[in-house]
Symmetry: C2
Subunit: 413 residues, 2 copies
Amino acid sequence: MTSELETITGGVCAPIGFRASGVTCGIKNPDLPKRDLAMIFSDFPAVTAGVFTQNEVKAAPVRLSSTYLKQVPPRAIVANSGNANACTGTVGMEHARRMADSAAKALGIKRREVLVCSTGIIGVPMPIHRIEPKMPEAAAALGRDEESAANVAAAIMTSDTRPKSEAIRVKIGGKEVRLGAIAKGAGMINPNMATMLCFVTTDAKITKAELQAATKEAVDRSFNRITIDGDMSTNDTVLVMANHQAGNRSITKGGPGSRLFREALTELMVRMAKKIVADGERVTKLVEVVVKGAYTDADAEKVARAVANSQLVKCSWNGNDPNWGRVIHAVGYSGARIREEMVDIYFDGLCAAKHGLVTDTPIAELQKAMSGSKVRVCIDLNLGRGEYNIYTADLSAEYVLFNREEYAVTKVK
Amino acid sequence: MTSELETITGGVCAPIGFRASGVTCGIKNPDLPKRDLAMIFSDFPAVTAGVFTQNEVKAAPVRLSSTYLKQVPPRAIVANSGNANACTGTVGMEHARRMADSAAKALGIKRREVLVCSTGIIGVPMPIHRIEPKMPEAAAALGRDEESAANVAAAIMTSDTRPKSEAIRVKIGGKEVRLGAIAKGAGMINPNMATMLCFVTTDAKITKAELQAATKEAVDRSFNRITIDGDMSTNDTVLVMANHQAGNRSITKGGPGSRLFREALTELMVRMAKKIVADGERVTKLVEVVVKGAYTDADAEKVARAVANSQLVKCSWNGNDPNWGRVIHAVGYSGARIREEMVDIYFDGLCAAKHGLVTDTPIAELQKAMSGSKVRVCIDLNLGRGEYNIYTADLSAEYVLFNREEYAVTKVK
């Protein structure tokens, strides 16, 4: 983080002109009161960038929002947890439209100014009749205070154990610009269909092209570098709304302030990405896999992903086992160009293997290094200058137990 | 299986002119008596085909055996369990050579006539001093009886819960030809470094080119279609020895008997592959994933592998959960060309999803279908004629617990 960035309070409500709320519809279970409808509203039309799932199976709200985004500058985001509205066919599309429609009515704006997101179970029709009547309540509850910021973060949680909210301030051309974000977990951490959502608000003045480019760069350096179980959700969505209220000179591609704004947006998303990985009672550690010395960055990425996604490697981390053999074995099948006799492996700075062979670092020390809640596993291929880093977690027995049953239980209910 | 194939007893000792033994060296733990050195001997030089791991990190015995295989027709295979002799550098190569050397001396043959395999922990030097003195005992114990066949199968086991041995007979050109095999498990089933070994003996007369082609085809249709955790071992090896004692006219590529021999070899390897997946207390079911209706076979394979390797899908199988949402989600990110609204998903013949939408098949019936110890998950993409099938298993909490610690424990011992 550069010294120019300052952490502030307020989450998505920190930037000027944004309000938020989180209310309870009983989407997953009407008898279990839990905030499950989130609303973010901009008092002014907002230039908005979006990055959506690459999964060929796309949820109805993803289809709808990516279309709306091309048409008009949005004013609001509404997101529900408990049902993903995915694999729900034409009825699902109708439900997504109705969600946008009821939000628009409650807010006094046009349907196409509302972006819709959903997260939760796949293949079960949305209980839209529980959502529509609650929209006026969500609109009435919109606020800029800490409570509103907390409620909106809580309402998008599924199996997350804590809300994820952050805000930062940065000076651009002498003007203070604020960025706020909320997010919810993915994959292993959030297995009830593994959706990752992140909504960013900013009062920066910025062109749409630059905002889209900055968003893509930030996502590539944050959410695209977390991998929990290699799965990719049908609903993954990152939205960044910029409402131009900070008074800065418009940020353009390569123009003044562009570098600073990108840094700030990236920093914010990296923080959210790390929170996503670290969250969850079923995960015991956040592991950063750092690969250096590859022929190319692409080779380094292959190695990082193979190691981070190896089921056997993740199990050993769960047991604090400094098992470099499993690591080098994943390095070997990664598809990257490697030379076994050049590979060095470090656990939190301690060398476990040098030139592909065991070192005399005492096992007890390596075990201690692996026992922390944050561990860095560094693999130096000693071949070139390519590098890549990725954030991941261990695999626990509790994760499996948690994920054994879901669909049948939900369907029968 | 065609009616021309007949199952017989005797394992690798069933074909004429092969003997085998399994003895105890105490490789993993001198205090724990367990057969850990396997020997297969052909009374005659044997045309031999080999398929080795594609992992860039290759164990010393893999390097040695693949070199020897090009030089002379082998007479013997020696394989140890408990130590993989991988990531052991030049010392490891020396140990592999010494293993071949001591076996050759005990058998009165040349070192290069011995193929060496190892399976077990990675990165720990081989206790070669425990293996060398036992070679004469292994040679003396060579036999053709059921006990010898059982001992050799037992000696290559690591965390396998039962030995894997099969033999079949087929008439080729009026002559009886026998094929026998032993194998040991992989990945999830055998996580102590996940090596898959399979040794096949046959008394068929066959050219080296045809044997290599038949072996490659059989491996593609069997071991390359099992996936447990997506990992690929540093030691995976399939060896097929043919010693020409059956009296059949030599089998050549495309010549008489070629089709029948390939069928027999493939059937034998498919049986071994299924045994590998189904083995293990920590696995509760063998799952065949069948993909049909893809544009191409390659697309079908992408879908099959994505579904079979999805951690979330495997967890749901463990809970007998007919969670078609997780299946279609993996279909979506597989990289294959698919259309969500065309996808049908069946659990043991029961339709859970039709055209990408939930069906009215009762959940209780789908749960019952998922509860068996053998389940077929069929995905019809309804786009073309491409198809592929793959065998895999569920992911259990016990698997994770079993794999949490290994290296540190072994190193400290």
